[in-house]
């Protein structure tokens, strides 16, 4: 039953003759490529100010909770797994599997966002590090806040697709392309966090 669907994966839909790839998909790749410049600027700004002295107040690297952030990173990493499983299920025509994995991805994204809200609250309430405490704090909130915003947009898109998949007939071929585009965006958010976790959290804490 699913063999036919398996031989025509979602990835090959909507192809354009001259490029061999759909215009919407190519647009998403170009958009994601431009996002490197955006996040690169924010990461560079953080690196510029993270250990620069001369300012009062708490610096982010003094108060990082590495075990907590490690768990958050793991959650976001695993959401990439559930995302590809959703895509794989749809390519086989498995609507139930697609629904389940889409919801799991959105739920893991929401858990990550909850962790970020908790982290920000702890930093502000316990350590009195606000957006305007010093340039390092500003750069930290700007970078992780914009990443969190991207995750939130991804969760909204995932929940929208999940809502559509619950309707009679589930996700159509056209929606399959939407799922692929949302998947690309979601994985991109994940790879940006891989960089942020290493460069901003693990590498900016001074050795004891």
């Amino acid at each position: 039953m699913s063999d036919v669907a398996h031989e025509t994966p979602v990835a090959h839909h909507d192809e354009h003759e001259s490029t061999g790839i759909g215009n919407r998909k190519l647009g998403m790749w170009v958009f994601l490529s431009s996002e490197f410049m955006f996040f690169g600027a924010l990461i560079a700004t953080y690196l510029l100010y993270s250990n620069r002295g001369g300012f009062e107040g708490t610096y982010p690297s003094e108060i990082y909770d590495i075990p907590f952030t490690s768990v958050s990173s793991f959650v976001l990493l695993m959401s990439s797994l559930t995302m590809v499983l959703a895509h794989n299920a749809l390519s086989k025509g498995d609507q139930n599997g697609t629904r389940t994995w889409l919801f799991a991805t959105a739920a893991l994204g929401a858990v990550f966002l909850g962790g970020q809200v908790f982290e920000f609250t702890e930093f502000i309430v316990q350590s009195d590090m606000t957006l305007s405490t010093n340039p390092a704090a500003s750069a930290f909130y700007l970078l992780t806040g914009f990443h969190g915003t991207h995750v939130a947009v991804g969760v909204i898109m995932l929940l929208s697709l999940w809502g559509i998949s619950r309707r009679k007939g589930g996700l159509s071929e056209e929606h399959g392309m939407n799922l692929e585009l949302v998947g690309l965006y979601w994985h991109f958010v994940d790879i940006i966090w891989i960089v942020i976790f290493t460069v901003v959290y693990l590498l900016s804490v001074p050795s004891a």
């Binding site: 490029t19 790749w29 490197f36 410049m37 690169g40 794989n88 960089v195 804490v205």
Partner: protein, 102 residues
Amino acid sequence: MTAEQDTHPSPAQYWKIAALLAILTTFEVAMFYVDRELGLGGLNALILISLALLKFVIVVGWYMHLRFESAIPNRFFTAGAILALALYLVVLSALGVVVIRG
């Protein structure tokens, strides 16, 4: 490349990739604590950046399926990543944050 090699990974392979990513993340966090004890300095930075790069390539290649895509998205994505990295390395080295030794 044969048609067989060109197909996307199976769910079992996706789980194996996730397990590998989890192991690499665990190793990263372990390196953080090893560095705190031993003060590895530049070696720690090199290992952590290498691990992050490996995770980055695995997610882009297998989960984003870039290794199965045509040349155009490959070129766009790789060019964007390399250009951003090069630009900000130059900016940070000019500002003295990153020291590049020739």
